[in-house]
Structures are given as C-alpha cells and as structure tokens.
Symmetry: D2
Subunit: 280 residues, 4 copies
Amino acid sequence: MTHWVLTLSCPDRPGIVSAVAGVLAGLGGNITESQQFGDADTGLYFMRVQVECDASREVLDRAVGGVAEQFGMSWELDVVGRPVRTVVMVSTAAHCLNDLLFRQRSERLPIEIVAVVSNHTMLAELAAFYGIDFHHVPVTRETRVDAEAQLLELVHALDAELVVLARYMQILSDDLCRDLEGRIINIHHSFLPSFKGARPYAQAHERGVKLIGATAHYATADLDEGPIIEQDVERVRHDDTVEDLVAMGQDVERRVLARAVRWHAEHRVLLDRTRTVVFR
Amino acid sequence: MTHWVLTLSCPDRPGIVSAVAGVLAGLGGNITESQQFGDADTGLYFMRVQVECDASREVLDRAVGGVAEQFGMSWELDVVGRPVRTVVMVSTAAHCLNDLLFRQRSERLPIEIVAVVSNHTMLAELAAFYGIDFHHVPVTRETRVDAEAQLLELVHALDAELVVLARYMQILSDDLCRDLEGRIINIHHSFLPSFKGARPYAQAHERGVKLIGATAHYATADLDEGPIIEQDVERVRHDDTVEDLVAMGQDVERRVLARAVRWHAEHRVLLDRTRTVVFR
Amino acid sequence: MTHWVLTLSCPDRPGIVSAVAGVLAGLGGNITESQQFGDADTGLYFMRVQVECDASREVLDRAVGGVAEQFGMSWELDVVGRPVRTVVMVSTAAHCLNDLLFRQRSERLPIEIVAVVSNHTMLAELAAFYGIDFHHVPVTRETRVDAEAQLLELVHALDAELVVLARYMQILSDDLCRDLEGRIINIHHSFLPSFKGARPYAQAHERGVKLIGATAHYATADLDEGPIIEQDVERVRHDDTVEDLVAMGQDVERRVLARAVRWHAEHRVLLDRTRTVVFR
Amino acid sequence: MTHWVLTLSCPDRPGIVSAVAGVLAGLGGNITESQQFGDADTGLYFMRVQVECDASREVLDRAVGGVAEQFGMSWELDVVGRPVRTVVMVSTAAHCLNDLLFRQRSERLPIEIVAVVSNHTMLAELAAFYGIDFHHVPVTRETRVDAEAQLLELVHALDAELVVLARYMQILSDDLCRDLEGRIINIHHSFLPSFKGARPYAQAHERGVKLIGATAHYATADLDEGPIIEQDVERVRHDDTVEDLVAMGQDVERRVLARAVRWHAEHRVLLDRTRTVVFR
C-alpha cells in the first residue's frame, strides 16, 4: 500500500470534501489525514489529504483529475515522505546550511540536497563532508545575469524542485523569482514586516525591541514581501549588543528555515495569493 | 443556514471520512472544517466536522445516526458557538474564576456560567458582579457526602453540562468523578506528572526547576491522573521565592484553564482512553 | 529595617559601583539586589540597588546625594513595594483595565489605581466594583484641549505618578507627552515597529504574519515611536480571522501591559534615550 | 586591560558587595557587570562580577584572597571568554555533538573541545571533520571500571575542566560523579522530575502530555537528581508518535544543552546545594 499526499485548491463551493473523499473511497483508499480551509477573503478553497491506497499513480491521476476538472482545481499528488530535490544557496554564514545538512542526514527532513551553490568558497568543505556537490558561482554587478543563468541551468539539469536561500546575500532578479514562483524559500533575519533590508539586527538594536525574530518566506520580485511561511522570535535584553543579536538570531533563523522547508517538502504549504495556508 | 459541529469516534477502518462527507453532502451541507485522527495504539478513529446545512436537527440526527450505526460510532451533534451550561467550583483563589467570568462576558468563550459553587464565601461578591448565582456549600470531613449530593443535584437542576474546578481545593469522590466522566475539568498547579499533590510550587522550588507549569485535565477517580487537555509553562529564576512562583503560576493556571474550557466547549476535545485528542 | 530601592544613571566612568556600595555600607546597609549596565553607544551608566538599611530617608538622601553630585547622577530613592499612584485611561475595551484592577487587588502589582478616566462610560461599572473613582471625560475634536487640561489637573490633584493608557483610543498632544515624559505607559496592539496606526490586526492578517504581538512603551510626541518596555507574541494560523486576531491579541496586550506596569512600578525601567534599560 | 570574571559564594552577611567593589576599585578596576543573590533558605550568598583591570593575576589573587578569607568565600577568577577545556562523551546520537562542535567553531561558545569519547565508533567521522581527537572506549558490564579509569586519566592528561554527556547512554559510577562534582553536565531527554529513566519519550506519549522537554543538569551519584541548570519544552499534539517526540525532542535537547554549557563556561552557574544559581 502506498501512502499518498494530495493537495489542491479551487474556488470554494459546497461538495468538495465529499467529492474528493468519495473518489478516494471508490479506489479503496483509507484517508489518514485531511485538512481544509476556505478563505472568505479570496474565495479560494484549500485541501490536503493523506490516503493509503494501492491504486497505481495512473489510476489515481485519472480519478483525481476527473474531480479536479469538475471543480476547477489546481492539484498535486505525491508519495508521502519522498525527498524533495533541493538546491541550497549560501554565501559565507554556515549555520543554516549546517542545520539543513544535518537534518537531511538524520533522515527526518524529507529533502535531498542535490547541490550547494555559493558566491563564495568558504562552505565548500562543509558540503563535501556531507557528500554534496558544491558549485562556486561568483556574482559581481557585471556577472549577475550569467550567474542566474547558471543557477537556472543547474536547477533544470538536476531536476531540482526547490531552491533554499540559506542566508544567500545576493538579490535575485524579478525574472528568476517569477520563473521559480513558489519554489524558492528565503530566510530573512528579522520579524517581517519589521526591519526589511540588509541590516535588520542593527535596526532592531537601535529601535530597542525586546524580541528579535526571523521569517521564512517564498521569494518574490518584491523583496522581503513574499508570502510568509513561518516566523519565530527570541527574547533579547538591553545589554545585548548587535553582535549578540546576530549570534542569537542564528538560532532563530535556522529553526524557522528548517520548519518552513519541512512543511514545504511535506506539501503542507499552499499559496493563497500573498499569504500561505500551512496545514500542520 | 445553521452551522453544526459533529464529533464522533469509532473503531478505525477505511471509508469513514467518505461515508460522513457523503451523508452531509446528501443533505446539501457545506463542510467548513474537518479533522480526523486514527490512533494506532488504541485502534480508535476520531473525527470533528463543522458543516453549514439547513436540514433540521431531526433530519441530521437520522442521517448521521445511520452512518453511526454502520461504523459503531459514539457521536454528538451541536450548533457551533452554543454556550455550554457550566458550573464553576472555587475555594478562595479568585484568579481562575475572574478570568472565566471576564472571558464569558467578553463573549468569546462559549460557555454560560449558570452557577458558582464554593466551600467558602470569599468569592460571592465577584460572582454577584457578573450576575451569577453563588452557592455556598461548606465541606467538612463529615459533610462531604452531603455536599457532593448537593452539587450533583444542582448540576441536574441547572442542566449543567460541564463542571469546572477553578482551584477548588477539595477532593471529589470516585463516584462523582465517574458520574460526570469527561464533564469535569480541573486545573492542577503543576506541570503534570511532576509535583502531584497539594504543594506543587514548594516542591518545584525545592527541586530547583527552571520552568513552572499548569495542567488542565479531566477529573478522574485517580487524582491528578486524568486525561490531560492542555499544559503550559513559565520561566522562573533562582531568586524567585515560593510566593513568587505562586503568583507567576496564577497567570499560567488561568491561561491553561481558559484554553481547556474553550476547546471543550467548542467540542474540540475527545477522550481517547487515558489521553485526549484536541482538534485545534 | 526599611527595604530601599535606589536607581540612578550618569555618564559612565570607573568607580561608580564601588562609590555607591561604599556609601551604603557606611550607613550599615545590606545590598540585597544590584544590577548595572554601561551603554557603550550612549556612554551612559545605569544602576539599580535594593538595600536594607535603618538610616532615615534624610540621612540616605544626603549620603546618596553626595555621590550623585560627584558623578553627575540622576537618581531616585523609594521604598521597595510602595504602590505607585496610577491613573488608568480607557475607552471601551475592558480587558486591560480588568486585568490591572484584578492584579492590583490581588496585591502583587505594586500600584494604587487612584482613578479611571475614560472618554466613554461603558467601563464605569467595572471601576465601581473595584471601588475606584471613574471620571468621564468626553473628547471631541473641539474639546481635546480642554479634556487634556482636565486630565492634567486630575493627575496633579491626585498626585498621580503614572498614567497608563489601557487601550485609550485617543491621541495625546505633544505637550502632554512632554509634560509627563517617562510617566505615561501605552499598550499598542502590534509588535512594533510593525503595523503602526489604528488597525494593526487587520494589517497583520493581510500581510499573513504567523505571530501577532503587543508592545508596551512610554508615550512620546512621536506616535508609536516611544521607548519600548516590553513585547510579546502569540502564534496565529491561516484560518484565524481578523476578529480571531483581535480576541487572541487581548491576551497578549494585557499580559504585556501588566508586565510593563509592574516593572515600572518596581523601578526596574530606566530611560536610555530612545531605548529602555529593564533590570528584571 | 584584561576583562576578568570573578565568582564567589559565602555565608550571607552585610558588606560583601562593598568589600568586593572596594578592593576592585582600589586596583583601578572598572566593574562592567555584577550580579548577586542571597539564598534565604541556605543562608548562602553568591556573586559574579566582571571587571576591567590591568592588575596582574597575582595582584588580583592576593587582593581578592584577602576579602575571601575575611568572609569565608569560595571563589574563582578567570579571564572573560577564555575557552573552557571540554571533553564531550557520546554514544550514537549525533545531534548534541554536532551542535556543540558547530557552536564551538562558529566561535560564540567559549569552550575548546579537547576530545570526544564514545562507547561506539559511529561519530568518529563527525569529530574528525572538526579536527577533534576521538577516543573509542567500549563499555561492557565487565569493563565499566576500566572504562571510567580511562576516562578519568584522559580528563587529567588533557587538563579538561568540563565533561559534557551529550546523550552518552551509560551510567557513570558514584565515585566518578563525586570526583568531578560540578564539572559534569548531562542532558536528560525529559522535563525533570517527570519521566526519569531511559524511555522518557515513550512515557510522555503514554501519559498524553501536551509539552515535552529536556533538562541539562550536573551529574550526581543520584541519577537524574542533580542540580538543574536549564530546561525547555516544545508543544506536541495528540497525533505525534513516540518517534515524532524523539525527533522533536532532539531540537530541545541540543538547545538546552548548548545554553547550559555556555552559561557554565561563562562562569554564570554556581552550585547552591541541590539547586543552581544562574546569573544570566
């Protein structure tokens, strides 16, 4: 018996749960997990179902496809736990990469890191320790276009499904963000929408906030404005310096990013215009 | 259109979601929320569905009853948001009662407090301010049996569905706990199973723990061993005295109790032998 | 033996701790708590000392005054636990007022609420239950100046040391903020600097954040920009509506405000230009 | 100018702060951080002072030694930030070791890991990647005494000041715990005192708790009863299996252990009989 995960979204109207449950029951499926959400603001309906079923993918595709057509659904069917092919992009900070690599190897994070891409060489050794190919793609003002082309080529060549910006300190072009919409996860080192930009910890210190945070979001053309997947915070004190905030922030960043990547890889995150639905 | 909430449990087997969704769709129902859980340990299946439907209660009862019989379900059908008739029992500490009364009036906690019962008179004025009947039922070693009889009579006379022990410092008899099984919520002032008994904060201080907690659970004959509904903790420091812990603990207690009561009143808590399923 | 609390700030330079400890030891004082902080950014030094001492206030004032002059200190001496005379301002939302009144009566929050002032009458009954004078001071565009004059008069007549804006939905004038600098605590219903202005929960919902927050800060002429005393957050989900956020936010608001008021009343909060030092 | 950290404890009596501050001021020292705590239960006084001072260690030792004798103090003087020489003991679980190694290299955790000791070989490669010597010391019922002798020899040969049991699944003898009292930190995978013993996550699951936790404590002869340094918790749900708890627990364990090791290495943890004073 295969354990499948089905995610879908469509305009909200009565009968969706019943139609989906019916078609799965018709194939002898046993629903083990199911969540749904109707967004009154956007009029969209979202659903995630896990089902044990020994029908083949073709049979399932056809059956679900029928319902999907009827309701105008976007949908995706995957095997529960299949590792999502992932490219991780970094610059010089190791904490997020180290965390993702460790969690992948400890076998609870369902991704397969197929490449580490960096505009520096500092983290090559770390990638090597985990047996991951490391690609050095330097970026300057002049080579930005070429570098992105290289990245995109790599993504295609490796059949990568997900790109994780694990403290990659370069801005991606609008085109790239659009090409890979909903497939690039970025970690921003502040509690968005506070402190956008490059120096959030310095800004947080200056403003005298009592909690610092981190935000994992899908990258969009509009910098730091993409749909938020996960956020978390950590308490700070008046005597913490900017350097202390940076150090403490690393813990929040890696924790938040790991959760966002996990939920994405488990097909728990669905795009609802500028927001996300997270079926935890 | 009425907004209904249906909760059910039964031995786990394929087809439950489909059968329930089907019968509701057949009545023109629109499922707005649905959660389920199959417990591999106990072999039980649990489900909670919210459905907008203009069928009458009789029609719904008959339709759901049919499916229920087929699957051997225990089930309950209620209107979403209907205030649950609740008796609150207290001794002298005001914080939990004050919190429940305030949350009830502010109209977000779906309970109707039909009586406050106490073995002291200290909180009569607070109940009066909120216009709630206050019953003074003193308890001594000799009158315990009578006092419980009085309580039970009151519960029946008022059609109370829920009894909340909001820091009621008397032990209920096994019989009473059995009579009202799954309908008495107690707040214990420790992070169970640590520090059972009457002096948890003193014990916590002596052991030097760095977090104190509170636990809301269904009362059972086995004291402090009932199914846990909710827990939370608060950080303490080496220089906090037992009195400090008591004061800080009041915040955790009232927060935890309010959540447990809310989830119970919203039919989000289902009993799974010695544990609870909480569909949040 | 009286238990004193001494707070001071001055330009940072060596010898401050020793000088203060020395003068207190000279009077037979026993230091029970002491904290200090040198802000490298502003060059200011902050100190808070609790000391058991049977010297009279006059003797203490003279002795501390001598050191203060030597180091150019601003300083304040108070008796530990003396309730700070406080005016609470509200509009129609009850949760913060109810919380402060309850915490004052339960005798762990060292304030004495000498008046509740409101531009509405809705909360008069609640104030009355706790035996606090209620002043209805309506505010319209035309009467704003008069209303503020009335407030200021009341503050002076009652010897109030602190004004708490417990969801008071009117903007205070720059002059009033300056007159009462460091003595007005406001609770803002967002995690500042995110979502300034009047509709933070709607903004938070629209942006799709995963945590909402509240911020207690000293009121300044620059709205929502005053020095932050305390902040906290609560996790929200994609299916929480704006109304849900408002309801959940009430819990965060009252918790954050109560902490800020407590720390202020215990002389734990010192102003460091646009930031606060909080000696917890 | 050297930045020193002085920690001390002694029977509580008036004048300690003044005496210590005075002697440091006499040497031209500038106190940058200072915390103290008098434990009314044990009658002991604890103090931690950071001071910038250009006196030599000999001069400081002599000056502090004088005060220490007068007050009957135990005391320790160290340079702020000096890495504490540490032996990490592990079995097969990598998460705590990986975390400590990473934090050490990222240079914010002030320890120098001088050896990894294990009763298995599985983590040899990880230690090698970070350039740390790995010692395989197998333990059977028969070789336990020899193995501990080997460990102790290593600790002495390497001048190790701290032993961290980073999920080392062997019980240390009473003698070893006594020999290294206050110098062995263990991470226990439960929120002590709940769920002592070897299978805490299974017990937590069975009891149906809503939060799981981890506890870092000094190892003592009395298993799982040593003075607690730090604890933290994570929320779990009814549908989390024991395996899920184990996986989620790893995050709490490594976070709690890293904090405890940091605070110990920064001389922020003082032993107060069966409890700890943590000057954060």
